[in-house]
Amino acid sequence: MVLTGKSEEKIAPVATRTKVANWKFGLVGVFFGIVFVKAEVISWFRIQEMFRLDSFHMYGIIGTAVVIGIISVFLIKRLNIKTLQGDPITITPKQFSKGQIYGGLMFGFGWAITGACPGPLFAQIGAGYSVVIVSLLSAIAGTWVYGALQKYLPH
């Protein structure tokens, strides 16, 4: 766990601490959007294949992404890797709520109907399926209605 030598090396050049401009996250988004389209993750047909167990494609993508994510987070913690600004990396733990079940099921229904989770909604619009703007607006409305009803819902 303690790798002081290495982490001090990484902390050293932080004298010029700068705030990462938001456009860098935009750039990551561009990259992500390209992957979404090129791997056909945004395809309504691929989501149908997934829920009909007729193709391994989506399971392979999500499974590989999770394995890479687990290894990355493990290494970040193990090697005490810092952000570019030199701050320690912190990940907020997820709190359990019944919403993960009720809301999760509702999102699953919507995922099968639209063939898209929130990321692909944005990518579909970019890829020229302009009518998905309506789905996105409805998703924003859904989020708003959740915000309005939150206190009446079981959590």
Partner: protein, 191 residues
């Protein structure tokens, strides 16, 4: 090279690249991968309506809006400059099941134009596939506090059991809708 890029990318390439977004966002600025939060930030920015759920400084989370804005641009690049010229290959079993449900367009792109076109907006198809579907995605992800990226990828990467509960619920919902709900919905909208 461009030829190679313009073909559909295999699952292991896409999965690896998507997985690498997790450490990239953490290292770039301690950001947890998640997309559905952007919908909340849009509400907080545009229509907070004095609701406590939208009463926070969304500007502090504006990186997330840049991120989804980037996804739109990336979608454009992937769908135009790097577009796959060939029709997509759909698993035959899925193709036959969807044919039986009334879908006819399997060749024009990544989404069937039977459903996804502006002409359907004010019809039962639009009501189900755009309005109801979108609403469930937005309501459900916020109620579950995350979507495929926040729970299935980011949450599982950090070995969070609530994210596993959420991911399993997403899948159960999707299976139920595909096999139990959609045959009725598709008939009702007149596909």
């Amino acid at each position: 090279m461009l030829d190679f890029i313009s073909q559909p990318w295999p699952w292991y390439v896409a999965g690896t690249l998507i997985g690498l977004i997790v450490p990239t966002l953490l290292i770039l600025g301690n950001k947890a991968f998640g997309i559905s939060s952007s919908l909340r930030h849009i509400c907080a920015a545009c229509i907070p309506a004095k609701l406590p759920f939208f009463d926070y400084d969304w500007r502090k989370e504006s990186w997330n809006l840049w991120f989804v804005g980037g996804i739109v641009v990336g979608g454009f690049i992937g769908g135009s400059l790097l577009k796959n010229p060939a029709a997509m290959i759909i698993a035959p079993d899925t193709l036959h099941s969807l044919q039986a449900l009334g879908i006819r367009d399997f060749t024009s792109g990544l989404l069937p134009t039977d459903i996804f076109n502006w002409g359907n907006l004010f019809t039962a198809k639009g009501l189900v596939f755009f309005i109801l579907g979108g609403f469930l995605v937005g309501f459900g992800t916020r109620y579950a506090r995350g979507c495929t990226s926040g729970h299935a990828i980011m949450g599982l990467s950090n070995l969070q059991w609530p994210s596993l509960v959420a991911t399993v619920s997403f899948m159960i919902g999707g299976f139920a809708m595909t096999h139990l709900g959609m045959p009725y919905l598709m008939r009702w909208v007149g596909l």
